[in-house]
Symmetry: D2
């Protein structure tokens, strides 16, 4: 750790800081530059308080790795995550598709068959839906899970669905092949700890205004509890321009792949909130290095009970897949 | 509801839209302006899907009130919320103060006595702490609650503490006079519904990048479940300048007081993250119309286990209170 | 124009609004919905004041096209802009490359030869540099222009350089094939009007926190003065995460190509501020539909007098070009 | 300067970095901590390139003051700026008021008389107006300046008006007592240098997404050219919530007063863009420590040619002044 001191400290203030370091059992050394003093010491365990809080300390520079389990500096080999017959990880593009919400068995079945036929690998479908307004459709809940289960068996596709409440973890796990943690729950640490104890892949969406570091620290909460199977999902961050619902931060993809060994996919549907930009941004996501995509598809997009403006029709989805396959081919990635 | 149509729609597209409105039992009428057509109909119940999703619809204008229970348009009288001997509401300034986290009984007791003596009304102290990193101090948990309970009885102050998990609601309610929902859980809808069923005041912090409307819709989740006692708390939003930890959005105070009947307070400590700006921004908050403040105070700020850089010492806190009283006096507000 | 009125207006307030519309020579008609009244009238010329300012008006909906010359609704054919032997426009990828600043003739010549050999079409090089600090290197100024001119003739490449001050327009035009308007000057309207009067292609960078609409309105300032040759350049917007210097908003590319007929390119160097992300984001930009790229290249990136952290070495630049060509080929775009 | 090196550098990389430091004539020393090496050297003059660009350097910590003329660390005494009979500076509140744009002599005269009578000290009025759209009213230009001059003489008030183009500096200076640099020109460095050479107070508005440091560096451009009379003006920054036009960042006020000796005022009109929040935020600005306010006032706000939605009527302005005087009195500030 390096502590940069403020200028013109009294001897008493300096002694106090030195004293606190020594109480921790560390041996501080000092270096001066341009009237600024810097104190160095090697921290071999976590310091129980924050030196940045101390009067007289201008800046703390930590050299310890902040998310050791998630970091690529400690585990450089890319993590591969098996979901049914597919594997998230390097050199392979996986496609998750389906409706935002499960609305009925008939609808879910029709969409599942259509997206599978078009080339999707995993079916998405929300049973419990986080909605900004309490008066918006909140999902079919347990009935939604039952429908998802029947569709999954019928169509033979792995499924992903969102978990919003630790008390629903067990019943959700009976159906889901991947548990989704939504953007609003990225820092719901109770829920993160809960899915960290479950032996099931977790898709962790980036929070609406989370930094990449905060996102990786949220992944660390899950890994730290014993579950190494975290898939990261960039889904747009808050910005000032209302042309798109959120701002798709594609540079987070190569950044996260550099900082971490976890796979990362992109959800252009929620990021953009409008279907006319899904295709170009899906292609851009793959070109930027994403390991997969999650795209909303609906049989009657205009009548979707949630987020229909962003859902693709079957034919648009097929067009996206055919171009995604081309771009995957260009970069020697497999599209199973 | 008013639907603005895109230009150059085919007759078929228009018929489809009209047909969907008529299926809902509404009678659309049309008005043309500058080559744009607008369709009007009176929505007397919620429309089960979103017209914005429909091809051909450029814009949807809703005139229905989106948060009827929270809105001042429907209930114009200001809500008063009783907490022990004090009342949050118009013409009165209340002060919540204490440490970020409960660290030990001795510490909590000392700080409680100091802030009460200085003029604080309610004691804050976290038992369960949401921390960005899993390796940071997570709070003393149930032991923290027990300490808070003993201190509360000893010092005779109402207390506020954060609830992070619905499964801890019961034990937290046994101690807390106000349940705090933290910024990261503002859209943890399961938790909002849970506290909506509890007969206990709730302090709802604004999310890190929540719009004012989203914040009021989160309050609506609580009111909608039967709990009318929600205190709103502005605590800074995410911005691009790292000089302060977050950006204190004081204009949200008069805005929320205009849009809603709920009381609103300000937490300058978490917003700014640095103690040197707490005093001016506390005064500004009262001048902007806040009904109270929540300020972190610590006996040894530099050694606080969480967020010490923003905690005030006893003497700085006393200085803030004396100026807050002056400004309250200027505007004929009582400081009990 | 549609004016939505506030609820519960007095007859007098309504009469006033109607009177103002009639004074403009328009004939208002009224429609009521859900206790809200809407006033319609056709605006065939610009209204000399803003109805949104009027008491009683809740919302103004304008259907007039706000940037008629820039909009693809009015001119649907894509604009092609000739620069030396190359053409910015559909189905073609152009590459602008070179140093951030001209530092010496020797250096500029070496870099120009290297980027031309690698496959760049146009040379970039700043003579006048906008720098956040007055103590940073401000560019070589007129000497920089002279060097750029000699290099241009020697290497036979068209050149682009930034214009910061209308008073330097003439001498800059004698050298530049494209005038660059930098991000800090996107709303320097005096300068926009000036380059609108010049018969020379203009590269208009997006402002650091400009919405897409504001950007297109700035382009309109140039077109409106008679210069139709505007190339738009996305170069990152301000955000809250300091991992990258700015946030590259790639979804602006397909968005702008939908809203406007102007070509749009991407500058990943300034957006990201770090060379390790240039390659993936260059590929993503092309996949998203960009008509070209502008990339910083330096012979000794670590010694660049400005923005060296983002400059590519010759070999990294060659690697980017070879992948850009592959992705261009995948989408049947030519790379001349 | 302190350079933190990346881990696991080769000897060759280290030698290179050391060599570059020595070439500058500095003597580096090294300190190791937690496997990280830090290199120290005292920089007594500006380093001609950026060490952050160098391979192997993880972080550069500069201890040199970045804006020496603007900084309160170097000149601790508060700057006082004389404008006619008034002085911007400590312990005094000044009020600038008037229309956004000069629309006619009759109007300007009427508003000037009204605001002077209400207690304003300085008249604002735009002759050259920066407008997002080329089709919006651009100000009366030179005719506006002539009107402003006649009104100034008639009403006997100092005036402030915006300078957008260095070529209009001379004629603007003949009228203006304060030159305003608008938010869109905060980083128009040519213009900053120009007003730095003029012996006239400059009001420097904060850019729409400028950090406080960037704002102070823009002030430094002016001071550095010889003009010490800069008044800073916070006027709202870009944010994601459209309830207000911009986000008024009041914490910038105490922050800037701590970092700099320059006076700082607040423009709530442009920040909020709606008149109903002007009063509470004006009071909050004074409570936060602002040295003055700039408020838009119009005789017929609904008919203002620019920004009328935010203009106060005469009676609302009088109400604000009377409360501003009360709050000034509370804090022992004079309101001349």
């Amino acid at each position: 750790m390096i502590l940069l001191l403020k200028k013109n400290l009294s001897d008493e203030q300096k002694s106090f800081i030195f004293g606190e370091i020594k109480k921790l059992g560390y041996e501080p050394s000092v270096q001066s530059v341009d009237q600024t003093e810097a104190i160095f010491f090697t921290e071999d365990k976590e310091v129980p308080f924050d030196f940045a809080n101390m009067d007289g300390v201008a800046k703390v520079i930590i050299s310890r790795q902040e998310y050791p389990l998630t970091s690529s500096k400690i585990k450089s080999e890319k993590t591969k995550i098996q979901v049914g017959p597919y594997q998230f990880g390097p050199s392979q593009i996986l496609m998750i598709a389906g409706p935002c919400s499960i609305e009925s068995e008939e609808q879910a079945l029709a969409i599942a068959r259509a997206v599978k036929k078009a080339g999707a690998h995993i079916l998405r479908g929300g049973a419990f839906k986080p909605r900004t307004s309490p008066y918006s459709f909140q999902g079919l809940g347990q009935e939604g899970l039952r429908i998802l289960n029947r569709v999954k068996k019928d169509v033979q596709m792995p499924v992903i669905t969102e978990l919003m409440d630790a008390r629903e973890a067990q019943e959700t796990c009976e159906v889901a092949d991947i548990l989704q943690i939504g953007t609003r729950n990225m820092q719901n640490f109770s829920l993160l700890k809960e899915v960290g104890k479950i032996n099931k892949p977790v898709l962790l969406k980036r929070g609406l205004s989370a930094t990449v570091k905060e996102w990786l620290l949220s992944a660390e909460y899950i890994l730290n509890q014993g579950n190494p199977n975290v898939i990261l999902c960039e889904r747009g961050i808050r910005s000032f321009d209302s042309e798109t619902r959120n701002l798709l931060d594609l540079s987070a993809v190569p950044l996260v792949k550099q900082l971490s060994h976890l796979p990362v996919i992109v959800d252009p549907s929620h990021a953009l909130g409008r279907r006319d930009l899904i295709e170009p941004m899906s292609l851009a996501a793959i070109a930027a290095g994403a390991d997969g995509l999650m795209i909303e598809v609906h049989d009657e997009p205009h009548k979707a009970l949630s987020d229909g403006a962003q859902a693709l029709s079957y034919s648009s989805f097929e067009a996206v897949i055919s171009k995604v396959k081309k771009i995957a081919g260009t970069f020697d990635l497999s599209y199973p």
